[in-house]
Each structure stands twice: as C-alpha cells, then as structure tokens.
C-alpha cells in the first residue's frame, strides 16, 4: 500500500494545530505522505514545511497540484471555492475544512464541481467521529431502552482563545459569520445527522452591524424533539450538551469524545461511562482524515461528504436570513435604540 500524497492548502492556525499533527500520525502509519504545503505567507508555509521535510513549500495552488492525490483545504472560507474547483480540475480529491465555503451557494458550487470532475469531496465535520456522538445518533433513532429523544440543550463557548493569526476571523469582508459559522456549524451538522431537517427554528444573535459573538438557536423536529443551542465567544457557558429521552438523560462535555454521564429514569444516581477503546478528540480528527484517505484509495465516498457540509451551511445562512437581535438587557434605553437601528 503506497501512501496517499497530500497537498496542504493554507498553513494557518488550523493547519498547524490540527492537520499537521494528524498528518504526522498517519505518516507514521504509512497512510499518507505530505507532498506539498501551500500558503502565500512565506512564514506560515515555511513553518509547516519544517514539520514535513519531504514536502515542497509553494506559494500558489497551481504549484501544489502536481503529484498530489488529496488536497486538504484549510485556508479562510472565502478561498475554499476557488481552491477546491482548482483541485478538482487538476484531478485531485479534496477534504475541505469547515465551513465548506463562505456562502451556501459557493458550497453547492463546490459540490457540483466535484460531481462534474468525478472527484471525492469531504467536509471537515470531524465531530461526527466522536464515539459519544455516534452513540447519540443510535439512541436518537428511538429504538434504544432510553426511548424517544425529547429535548437537546447545548451550550458551548467562553472567552475566545483561538490563536488567530490575522483579523480575518472578525471582518465581514473575510468571513460572513461569527460564532454561529465558526463553532455552530459543527452542531448544525450533528443535529441534522441525528434528527434530520428541522420542521422549524428561530435564531437570535448579538451582532450590531458586525459579526455575532453570541447566538441562540431553538429548533423543533417533525417527531416532536426540540433543541436549544447557545453559542458564545464572550461569556463562559456550561460547555456541555444534555439529551432528555423518554426514560433518561444523557450529558456530554463539549470536546470530550468518549465519555458520557447518564441518568436512567427510576434508577438512582448519575453514572459516568467511558467508551472502551473510544477515540479522543484529536483521535477523532485523525479518524476522519483516515476515512478520507481510505476513500481516496478505495474510490468510495467519504463518510462526511461535501453535501453534508453544504447542508449545514444552508442552515447557517437560513439562520442569518431570519435573524432577530438577542435582547441585551444591560443596555440603557438610549443604547437599545441605537442597537435596534443597526
């Protein structure tokens, strides 16, 4: 088995902190070989190149494709469409970091380009590979002893600590969304995966002409299940999700991939369980990459397809389209009026 040759497009924080260690782990197993690292910023690409001595460091995508079988697109979202389409045109499959694109229209265009070119496209929603999230999916099917899933409460966030290398995260010209697009898109993908398309939802955030730092989604599904999702880059949240079933309750800690706390109706106490041999958060990230690499080698679809990423992004856009402003109850009357006018 020869390793799949990878071109890493974009050498910013997510490439450095997530993709580089995941690629190294798979290089050790002989599953991948990093052929190229690509970024217009020399400092960024040379830092990544130093981690993969066999890789070429290039400034443009055109120079990245020769010899590559899989492109990992980890640049800011506004560049995803152009880079993915170029990869497909060069006969290269793509794993694209979330969000799949800057807009849902671009995401759909990327999916269409992949189909036309006959290439594989995976969306970087690696949290589907958490054992606890797979467990919830099975339980949400309704056939488990816990019974029907009634309600999901999710709260994720706190003071923003991602080591942003530029202001692109926070400028409308560079990205169309704030906390919803950044961390919310993972949850919207998971909610769709667990429950399908919602029957209805509401959305509120605190943007005042810029990008939201706090957001709340409330959604309802045809089977009667409801969810509330609270996201923040601002205030500490519980950083947990709570699933109320007909016969019990399950609590997960955000980013703890293989532990859950369960309370079963009629039995005393809450019990903490660990999925034996289950993947940790970083291991789940590696597992998605491994799945995509295997898909490239075997000529099959990856587990999380581009269409999944596009669907999550459509939901994000639908949220923004029906946005209401979150009440900001500490503002004075005059300040509220200014905020309302934004």
């Amino acid at each position: 088995m020869s390793p799949v040759r990878v071109a890493l497009i974009g050498c910013g924080a997510v490439a450095r902190l997530f993709y580089a260690p995941a690629l190294r782990a798979l290089e050790v197993c002989g599953e991948v070989e990093v052929a190229t690292v690509c970024d217009p910023a020399e400092t960024a690409r040379m830092a990544l190149a130093a981690e993969f001595p066999g890789a070429r460091a290039v400034a443009t995508e055109e120079a990245a494709w020769p010899g590559a079988q899989l492109a990992i697109v980890a640049s800011p979202p506004r560049w995803h469409r152009e880079q993915c389409e170029a990869a497909f045109a060069a006969g290269v499959d793509v794993l694209c970091e979330k969000p799949l694109a800057g807009t849902a229209a671009d995401a759909e265009a990327i999916c269409a380009a992949a189909r036309r070119a006959g290439r594989r496209l995976a969306a970087g929603h690696y949290k589907r590979f958490f054992p606890v999230h797979e467990w919830i999916r099975t339980a949400a099917g309704g056939a488990s002893p816990l019974g029907a899933l009634r309600r999901i409460e999710i709260a994720e966030g706190g003071k923003f600590r991602w080591p942003a290398a530029s202001a692109s995260f926070f400028q409308r010209s560079e990205t169309p969304g704030g906390v919803l697009l950044d961390i919310g898109v993972h949850w919207l993908d998971l909610l769709r995966w667990w429950l399908g398309e919602p029957a209805d939802f509401t959305y509120e955030d605190d943007a005042l002409g810029g990008l939201e730092a706090n957001a709340v989604i409330q959604a309802r599904w045809p089977g009667g299940a409801e969810a509330r999702l609270r996201l923040s880059r601002d205030a500490a949240t519980e950083n947990a999700s709570r699933f109320t079933f007909e016969h019990g309750e399950v609590r997960l800690v955000v980013n703890d991939a293989n532990h859950l706390q369960m309370q079963i109706a009629g039995l005393p106490g809450a019990w903490r369980a660990e999925c034996e041999g289950g993947a940790t958060n970083p291991q789940a990230f590696i597992l998605q990459l491994r799945d995509v690499v295997a898909a490239v080698r075997e000529g099959r679809e990856p587990q999380v397809r581009g269409e999944d990423g596009a669907a999550a992004l459509r939901w994000v856009e639908a949220c923004y389209a029906r946005r209401r402003r979150l009440p900001l109850p500490w503002l004075s009357v005059e300040e509220q009026e200014t905020a309302d006018a934004r």
């Binding site: 923003f160 605190d206 810029g210």
Partner: protein, 355 residues
C-alpha cells in the same frame, strides 16, 4: 471627540466601547493586545488597532490622532507599573491631549481609614502587590508633568462580564461563598457605567488635568447588599455564605489561604522531583501485593469544597466607611448616573442572559 480605549476587550473596555458608541457619546478606537481579542468587539464595525500596551512605540502608533486615551488594560503588578510608563511615553510621542488612567481605590489600602480622601498620602509599602503597583503607576503619571493625565480611583467595579459577578455566582453554586461579619462591611462599589461617566468627564474637563479622583456609586453599599442578590439570582441565599471572622483569614498568601488545587499542585510538583526509578520501585511493590489494603488516605469521605480565602479580599470586606467622591463632584461635575440597585439588576440580567 475620539477616544482610544486601551484594553478594549476586558470587562471595563468592552462596556466602554458599548457605552460610548451605542450611547453616541464619543467615537471610539479599540486598542487590543491580539487579533483574538477582537472576538466580541467585532459585533460592531469599529476602528481598531492591535498593539501591546507594554510597547510604547506600538501604542503611540495605535492611538495617534485620538483626542484622549482611556487606559483600561489589566495586567500583573509588574505589567501595571510598566504600562503606566508605556502609556506616558505613547501620549508624549503621539501628542495625545488627555490620558485617563484607571487606577484603584486600593492605593489607599484595602480598608481605608475614616477621613481618607484623594490628598491622603499614598504609601508604596502596602502589603499587597496589586495595590503597590497601582501606587507606583500613579507616581509615574504624576511625575510626567508634560503629559496631561487624570487618575481615577474606583473601588469594586461591577457590571456585565465583571469577575465580581461571575465569581460570586460561581462560589455560591459551588458552595464556596463566604463573607466577613455577615457581610456588613462597606463595599466601595461602582457600577461600570458610573465609572465611564467619570472617565468621560475626565477626558474633557480642563480642571481634571494632573488630578486624582475617588469615584463610586451614590449609595453606601454593604457587601451583603452586593453579594446576596447575586446568590439569590443563582438559587442561593444567606445560607450560601460561610460567615467568617477576621481571625479566620490567612495572614497573607500562605498555603492555608490558597485554593486546594494549588496545594495539590505543589504536591504534584514535588512528586515530579522523585526519580523515575524510585517511582517504578514503589509501583512494582504495590502491584506485587496480593490484596493491597486500602491506603490510609482512602479512609475519608469527600470533603466539601474549600472556599478561597485571601487576606486581600478579607480586608476589602472589612471596610468601615464609604470613600468620598466629593472632589470628583466638585471638579468634574461627577454624578453617578445609574443607581446601585439598577446597576446590580442590569448585571444580573446579563448573568441570566449568559445561560
């Protein structure tokens, strides 16, 4: 007027940006240490700069063209002293007409004596590093007579995002809340909007230059007036507080006064010094025991969480008199614009909003 808010991503800085922009009181330039600090500020389309407040040249570039600086950046004691020198140098280089420096009532000690006012002598041998640093920072500003500066000395600044609110709520929820003498000591509170009103006046009133001002809420507030509503907002009450006496407090930052995790950390740090070979021998000896009896440490029930007692907070809670803001009223025309109860209501509304 355009105000550069240095430390715009902190609790006071964020509210200052809201207060000046949404209240249409002034134009704002937000100055932060890193791109990541823009996360909440980005809710508005703002003029912003990234600059380290310890780097005078970078700071001068960031504030250039502004009419005033409101310096709300926080740091450890060493940084506080250096930031004052850096702010003075930046104002000088960028020719900023006014520097408003957020000092602290702690320059008079944690529990100032009756009769304390702005002209009371400052001592730089106070027992707590934070207070000493604030004194030295003020001395740096006062010595730079060519830089028009104003020093504001608030006490307990509270409001949305304030650690006073967040920590008090958390302590009630985790069973670690405490106060001294039933919380009847005077709390030198100031709702953040009142501090910003004082800062606005300090930016503009000519007579303010070179002066220091104590600022506070209008009311005389006791710690129980402040802490009890926070406890009630998270399902607690008077019973949530361990009522301590001054003798229960540690002298200063002794091991007894530090949180449990700190002493555990020391134990772990000590364990790291044990050679690996010894650890392996101990482990293999333990593994070889056919039916190891429970260790002596196993014969205990889980202890309730320990409150974090510090002499600094303990002294703060023993205030006996309200610090006056008569000088701010006389020279600045300062009047608290939000009553204490309304400030607390807004703060608790924010706390509920975060859930």
């Amino acid at each position: 007027m355009k105000i550069a808010i240095v430390g715009a991503s902190g609790f006071i800085g964020l509210r200052a940006v809201e207060w000046f922009t949404l209240g249409r009181r002034a134009e704002v330039r937000a100055v932060v240490r890193s791109f990541s600090s823009l996360a909440v500020l980005a809710r508005q389309e703002l003029d912003w700069r990234v600059a380290d407040p310890l780097d005078a040249r970078a700071l001068a570039g960031a504030v250039e063209g502004c009419d005033a600086i409101l310096h709300a950046a926080i740091g450890d004691p060493d940084q506080i002293e250096k930031m004052a020198a850096s702010a003075v140098a930046a104002c000088r280089a960028a020719r900023i007409p006014r520097l408003v420096w957020l000092s602290s009532a702690s320059v008079h000690g944690q529990a100032p004596a009756s009769g304390t006012e702005e002209s009371s002598p400052l001592r730089d041998d106070l027992p707590f590093p934070y207070a000493r640093a604030k004194v030295r920072a003020e001395q740096t500003l006062a010595a730079a007579r060519d830089v028009p500066s104003v020093r504001l000395r608030p006490g307990i600044v509270f409001g949305p995002r304030s650690s006073w609110i967040v920590d008090a709520a958390r302590q009630v929820q985790t069973g670690t809340a405490w106060w001294i003498g039933g919380g009847r000591g005077v709390c030198h509170s100031i709702y953040v909007d009142n501090l910003l009103e004082a800062a606005r006046l300090a930016c503009t009133v000519p007579e303010a230059v070179g002066e220091a001002f104590l600022v506070g809420d209008a009311e005389e507030v006791r710690w129980r007036d402040f802490l009890l509503p926070i406890a009630e907002a998270v399902g607690g009450g008077e019973h949530s507080f361990r009522d301590l006496a001054p003798r229960d407090l540690p002298g200063h930052e002794t091991l007894r006064g530090l949180p449990r995790w700190t002493s555990l950390g020391l134990v772990r740090a000590a364990a790291l010094q044990v050679p690996d070979r010894v650890k392996r021998l101990v482990k293999s000896a333990a593994a070889a025991w056919p039916e190891a009896p429970p260790s002596p440490g196993a014969w205990s029930l889980p202890a309730p969480p320990a409150p974090r007692l510090t002499a600094e907070l303990g002294e703060l809670m023993q205030g006996t008199c309200k610090l006056p803001h008569a000088k701010a009223a006389r020279l600045l025309g300062y009047r608290p614009i939000v009553p204490f109860a309304e400030g607390l209501r807004r703060s608790l509304a924010w706390l509920a909003w975060t859930r």
